[in-house]
């Protein structure tokens, strides 16, 4: 029914981009306008759809605004610019236009952006990535577990894991499975891929592919408690060979992650110190194990010294940070 072959109107974005050039101020590799400077296939597609939508809507809204301002100027009482007709309150022609224009615009955007876009960047099966799957070689799998308040990235293909840092190879699709231990949050790397909810006792999916080597900021985009702001992770997109050597390096680390070890790792912790940890050996099936345990009622309760009375805890963390 919905074929994914149709390409969004590629040219429209360039037209719509013109006024935005002012904002991009020489957008190099380190643009601060993350949403306008996408480096992931999904983020780029989202950006294209945004430009189509903005172009159409700006056309209508802009013209409407001009029309209103013109009416405001022309029919100002006492200026005698327009003719007054105090009875005029209906016109079938105008009614046809005032209903017709929004209907046409919504109709077009529904098809061009809402329907097509929902399939193109569907987090579970983003066709912008999956339709090119073959030539790009084997995809990388990453299991993401959000705790209160750290990120754990497990690479099941390499039996290793890293906390609070994500490293992926360029030109390679990366498929994420995500869950959380305690509460809900959002996985988000603004320049690479859109947000996806991360929920305890449930598994969501997302996918990422990037052709630009670099370092991108990843965040927890949804409030999940006191540590949300510090729940950051750097995302490194590296060349395939660099990735191989990074994996090798990580596998040399001494850290070992069993279910028991993970349960200690998942204790509430505000990562003010931006601590990154490597685990060379991860117990097989840890990701599923965590989901199952949560489904069976496992919790990581927050003590009151991390909510109501958190000043003391923050002091301790800040002291560690400075040390």
């Amino acid at each position: 029914m919905f074929t994914r072959k149709w390409q969004p109107l590629r040219w429209v974005r360039y037209v719509a981009l013109a006024p935005l050039l002012l904002l991009l101020n020489g957008c190099a590799t380190h643009s601060i306008w993350w949403i306008f400077d996408p480096h992931g296939v999904g983020a780029k597609a989202s950006f294209d759809y945004m430009m189509i939508d903005v172009a159409v809507m700006l056309g209508i809204v802009g013209l409407t605004a001009i029309m209103i301002v013109w009416f405001m100027w022309r029919y100002h009482k006492g200026r005698n610019r327009g003719t007054y007709d105090g009875k005029w309150a209906h016109s079938t022609t105008i009614e046809v236009f005032v209903w017709g224009i929004p209907i046409l615009a919504v109709g077009f955007l529904s098809w061009a952006v809402a329907i097509n876009g929902s399939f193109a960047v569907n987090p579970y099966n983003p066709t912008v990535i999956t339709r090119h799957l073959k030539p790009h070689g084997d995809p990388i799998e990453v299991d993401v577990i959000a705790t209160d308040w750290q990120w754990l990235f497990i690479y099941p293909q390499y039996h290793m894991a890293v906390a609070n840092e994500l490293v992926v190879p360029a030109h390679t699709p990366v498929f994420f499975k995500l869950t959380s231990t305690a509460v809900t949050t959002d996985f988000f790397v603004p320049q690479l891929l859109g947000m996806i909810d991360v929920m305890p006792g449930m598994r969501t999916k997302d996918a990422l592919e990037s052709d630009s080597i670099g370092q991108y900021q990843g965040v927890a985009a949804d409030y999940c408690g006191a540590g949300t702001s510090w729940m950051l992770f750097k995302t490194h997109v590296v060349s395939k060979s660099d990735f191989a050597s990074w994996v090798h390096h990580a596998q040399q680390s001494t850290g070992n992650l069993t279910v028991a070890g993970f349960n200690r790792f998942a204790e509430p912790y505000i990562n003010i110190n931006n601590k990154v940890e490597y685990f060379s050996q991860v117990q097989k099936g840890l990701f599923n194990q965590v989901i199952l345990e949560v489904m069976h009622g496992r919790k990581w309760p927050l003590p009151m010294f991390m909510t109501e009375n958190m000043v003391g805890y923050l002091k301790k963390q800040a002291a560690e940070h400075r040390a």
Binding site: P102, F119, Q191, D197, I272
Partner: protein, 711 residues
């Protein structure tokens, strides 16, 4: 104890303890002192001037829809200020804390608020602004205007009206109590599952949030029943559906939404309470709970609620623009259709609040397209307002400024709303400050409409107009504040800054956050301008005495009766002849026509039961929050006893004799400035009945319009 509380509890005080009062907090402790001093000053002042009796008789026990409306508006304005202070703290915290090297004070690592404190502030800000500022302000204006617009003497259920107000006031007191006793919720105004569960929010904050929500939902539901009954049953003779003023139409649609959606909220929040108090697992992650169920239930109410607040605002704009364009509203029929289209579609869009849940492209497409459908009737409304101005004679009064300002905010909000309605775009900006800026455009559209209608209807209620110059100064300051706060916020959204960060980690955001603080300061100036406007207007009230038709170009029925409107609204229930009745009478030279015959008026009696039940609901909410079971039980029983007592007692009402009505009406006419002469010198059309004389043959019509308060 049904659940294991993480803190101490005793049977007499529940979780209450001296340590729950934040007397060491350097923000709250001085604030508490200020509040206490102000409160004592007020009490002393009232006692000194001997006004307790007046306060009790005229205000606290009143069932007059106008006085209740005024109290709703005062409540809303006070909470608007409280919510603004929360906003001010968020803006200053983010500006002070931005970047990895920002210093910290008062226990915070960066800035001056700890994450938990910041969480409480934005949660309280959201809840207060939507439910305890915007909603009471709108309900207050609806309360005042609807009976006047349809020619009724009061609401259908005056006692229920008072009850709604006092329960809402109880919710306000409860959320304010959370400032000084214990904490408020930190999990966002709409709450996240499962962070509001006892394991992740061990304090009383979420409990305050639950009971405040329940009280305000109850108060609003009672109000919506009343509005619907009033509009359906209490219209003056001749006020056919096709003649109903636009604001009344908009309010009707809004209250249908409220009546049908608020119970959904009460169920959702009730289940949260069951989780926290009884140890059930409706929304827990484990034991078969489903946390997304909460999010669905909440937004199933939450999105209709958005239209519950925006539709009356659209109605206000639809009243102000025609008055100051000296033209009827363009496309009345399509406007009504558009209003109900928005109300209908509002039920089909709730999933767009969480497109990132991962619901799959088929589901998200459906909700995306449904959301965009809202844009069609909304677009129609904007065009209709524009064509109302077309071929008009526009007078730029302060009220018109606010209405037009709302129109432009709606355009910006609509443009960004159409972006957010599309999942592919939403994934990039959901939960970012871009969303925050978008919905502030929409909510400020409501605030603009509210300020416009406060200025617009003020002379009808108080008998004199507000100062135009200061109203415009306030408008420009407020608009400058809006631009300075929210344009940078839109831009930060494109920088990938997410919502609710107590510590904005990227130093690149600093300049934009600083501009926002500047905007907040301009907002402070606009509040001062508002205060000055009130002061100057009250001082000069004698010079700005308003006629029945305060603006000279007003159109709908409320402008027919005296300004200030007497407590019985209309001395004689008017016969409605046209859609824009006052404009019709003006055109036909009937403006100066006076009633020749008066009838006795039957009015409801004041009652103190509403405020007592309101007070008891506060006690119940407070006792449940702190788990003081004996007090909860006693207050609940007391509420039930009061309800039974009131039902058994009933209210016979009282009758104002015809001579008294005539005397008061003549008096009002004498003190009002002369109604301006008819603009068009056409003669009176034959057969026009300006006033229903109540004579034989018209008697039945009179009965239809005049409410009967006998039980």
């Amino acid at each position: 104890m049904l659940v294991n509380l993480p803190g101490p509890w005793n049977p007499w005080l529940g979780r209450l303890a001296l340590s729950e009062i934040p007397y060491t907090n350097p923000i709250l402790a001085p604030l508490f002192v200020v509040v206490v001093v102000l409160g004592l000053l007020m009490v002393a002042g009232i006692t000194y001037y001997g006004k307790w009796g007046y306060l009790w008789k005229e205000w606290l026990t009143t069932v007059d829809h106008k006085k209740l409306g005024i109290m709703y508006i005062i409540l809303g304005l006070v909470m608007l200020f409280r919510g603004f202070i929360d906003g001010l703290m968020m803006r200053t915290q983010q500006a002070m804390a931005v970047g990895p090297h920002a210093s910290g004070m008062m226990g915070a690592v960066h800035g001056y608020l700890t994450p938990f404190h910041f969480g409480q502030i934005y949660s309280a800000h959201g809840m207060i602004m939507i439910l305890l500022a915007a909603t009471p302000l709108l309900v207050g204006i609806m309360n005042i205007v609807i009976p006047l617009q349809i020619g009724a003497r009061d609401m259908a259920y005056p006692y229920l009206n008072a009850l709604g107000l006092w329960i809402t006031a109880a919710a306000v007191v409860l959320i304010m109590a959370s400032l000084f006793v214990g904490d408020f919720a930190h999990n966002g105004w709409f709450g996240y599952a499962p962070i509001f569960e006892l394991a992740y929010s061990p304090g009383v904050g979420v409990d305050y949030w639950i009971w405040t929500f329940q009280l305000v939902a109850l108060g609003t539901t009672l109000g919506s029943i009343n509005f619907i009954a009033t509009i359906v049953k209490m219209r003056a003779p001749g006020m056919k559906w096709s003649r109903l003023p636009m604001f009344t139409w908009a309010s009707l649609s809004a209250n249908i939404i409220a009546l049908t959606s608020f119970p959904c909220l009460q169920v959702a929040i009730g289940l949260v309470a069951a989780d926290r108090y009884l140890g059930t697992h409706f929304f827990t992650a484990g034991f078969g709970g489903n946390l997304m169920l909460y999010t669905n239930l909440f937004w199933l109410w939450g999105h209709p609620e958005v239209y519950f607040v925006i539709l009356p605002a659209f109605g206000m704009i639809s009243e102000i623009i025609p008055t100051f364009s000296e033209k009827p509203l363009f496309g009345y029929v399509t406007m009504v259709l558009a209003t109900f289209a928005i109300a209908g579609v509002s039920w089909l869009v709730w999933l767009h609040h969480f497109f990132t849940m991962g619901m799959g492209p088929y589901v998200s497409t459906e909700f995306s397209v449904a959301t965009m459908l809202v844009g069609i009737p909304t677009g129609v409304k904007v065009f209709n307002w524009a064509f109302t101005m077309y071929r008009g004679r526009l007078t730029y009064t302060a009220a018109m400024y606010w209405a037009l300002g709302a129109l432009f905010l709606l355009l910006v909000g609509g443009l960004t709303g159409m972006m957010l309605s599309i999942p592919a775009i939403n994934y990039m900006v959901h939960n970012s400050v871009f969303v925050v800026a978008h919905f502030h455009m929409m909510l400020l559209c409501i605030v603009y409409a509210i300020f416009g209608s406060v200025i617009y209807w003020f002379p009808k209620v108080f008998g004199y107009t507000l100062n135009e110059a200061w109203g415009k100064v306030m408008f420009w300051l407020f608009s400058a504040g809006t631009a300075l706060v929210f344009i940078p916020m839109f831009m930060e959204g494109f920088m990938g800054m997410t919502r609710r960060l107590d510590w904005p980690f990227d130093p690149h955001w600093a300049p934009y956050l600083n501009i926002q603080v500047l905007g907040i300061l301009v907002y402070v100036l606009s509040i001062l301008a508002f205060v000055v406007m009130l002061y100057v207007s009250i001082r000069d009230r004698a010079q700005h005495r308003a006629a029945a038709d305060a603006w000279g170009t007003s159109r709908s029925l409320e402008w027919l009766t005296a300004s200030p409107v007497p407590f019985y609204n209309f001395a004689v229930v008017p016969q409605v002849n046209a859609r824009d009745e006052v404009a019709w009478r003006r055109e036909h030279g009937l403006s100066a026509q006076r009633a020749s015959h008066y009838d006795a008026i039957h009015m409801p009696n004041n009652t103190g039961i509403a405020i007592i039940i309101g007070g008891l609901t506060f006690v119940l909410g407070f006792a449940l929050t702190w788990r003081i079971w004996w007090l909860s039980l006693i207050s609940l029983l007391a509420i039930i006893v009061m309800m039974i007592y009131r039902s058994a007692k009933g209210d016979p009402g009282h009758v104002i004799p015809a001579e008294e009505v005539e005397r008061m009406d003549r008096e009002a006419e004498r003190t009002m400035p002369r109604a301006d002469l008819p603009r068009h010198s056409g003669g009176v059309l034959g057969g026009a009945i300006a006033y229903d004389s109540g004579a034989a043959g018209e008697g039945s019509a009179n009965l239809r319009g005049a409410p009967d308060y006998r039980p």
